[in-house]
Amino acid sequence: MSLLSVRDLSVGYGPVRALAGVNLELAEGAITAVLGANGAGKTTLLRTVNGLLRPSSGSVRLAGREITTLPVEDVVRHGVAHVPEGRGVITELTVAENLRLGGLWRRDPADLRVAMREVYQLFEPLALSRDRPAGTLSGGERQMLALGRALVSRPRLLMLDEPSLGLASRITTELMTVVRRLRAELGMTVLLVEQNARSALSIADQAVVLNVGRVVADQPAAVLAADDTLRHSYLGF
């Protein structure tokens, strides 16, 4: 059963078409990787799903419910957490404040405290610097914070935009391990956008390849990883 269903989605920036008739079904409890070169439309896809962008046509459904035209504040309230490109931690606020912010809309202070404790257990460096401004964190710690902040909202769908960007490969591996654990232990549905196809394919169940706004492949990750032609032409490895 699919949690997120994207039908015939087209998005344009003025005359420029960023997505052209994209179809996508996200299986519940699976990690789906969206791969493709710079400018393929990956970030546009995430921003449209979460309501930051309005599509020119097509629809987005979450668990059967139409969310295409909802503003982002309301999409969040349906359980979609988005870790934006470049982490999006608020550097002027402390680590704890950033985390709290992720779960405020749920209006459940008791569970928010529990959720924050869980994040501190998951990412020890964050627990050690709760009261420091997020601007003092390293790139890897910021990514942990951005991911932790999304988890605090206890999402049904977790969307990650280029989490490996600018990180050392050891830290990327660590993060990918955490994402895999989230799927295995909590059954979380993950939409993972990556340019770094190799690391994304290592944890994904399903892989979708975008090329200039169109889906050119939608296959189990293992099948795609074994397809030399596709890898060479679109993923560059």
Binding site: E73, L93, W105, S138
Partner: protein, 292 residues
Amino acid sequence: MLRFLNLTLGGIGTGAVYAAVALALVLIWRSTRIVNFAQGGMMMISTFVAWSVIGRTGSFWLGLAAALLAGLILGAVVERLVIRPVESAPALNAVIVTLGLLVFLQALAGIIWGGEPRSFPPAFGIVGFKIGDTRLLFSPSDLFAVLAVLGLMILLGLLFQRTSIGLQMRAAAFAPEISRVLGVRVGRTLTLGWALAALVGALAGVLVAPASFVSPNAFDEILVFGFTAAVLGGLDSPPGAVVGGLILGLLLSYLAGYAGSDVVTLGALAILVAVLLIRPNGLFARPAGRRI
């Protein structure tokens, strides 16, 4: 020595009011990047409301409450109706709109309350405290002004630092899009920010009115001083605005006392220009954080 003490106390008294006006400007600037030139007009309206209520009821405190309430409502209404449409437009649009709003409010006040200056009663006596046989130029009314501004600032500080609403307001000011992605209703925090700013302005208006009287453009000058104080404090920092207000109050008080009161406005202008030339990010600018 007594003269210096008097000038210092007087400076703190007026500085508290400048601090409140500066804070009103800073609260709006940091969340919307708009310098609210209509702040003086909004203050004037809420002060006239207080004047009317005091005239009817004879109670200063009811008047103060009415002014604060009028400020809250006016701030929220202005943000929703006037500012919201130009929020995403080029910055100059908002500047023109706030100037237009100032003219509108002044004209409106002229229609309702007339153009002549009205006297406004102080909360407490305006005769200075006595130490031994010398009478200080610092009255119970001045003390009330300082304490009221200080109290409001502490309340605002607690609101911003200790509550969920405050956290959301700060987040929305620093990173509006990220905040929306996290579920913060940024539009509402902006409305609340304008309402609170106008509330602070309303307090400043009631505190300064006994000295300046109330008329449609009674607060033009204090807006300039408040803006100078805000720039002194960096325009982006609420504590900076408060300190900037006090510093400006002291500087102008010494200037008036030692150089003559007719150079005060010129002095404020000189300070404004000097700060913009030497420390454009304010006296307390911190080095920017790491950008990764």
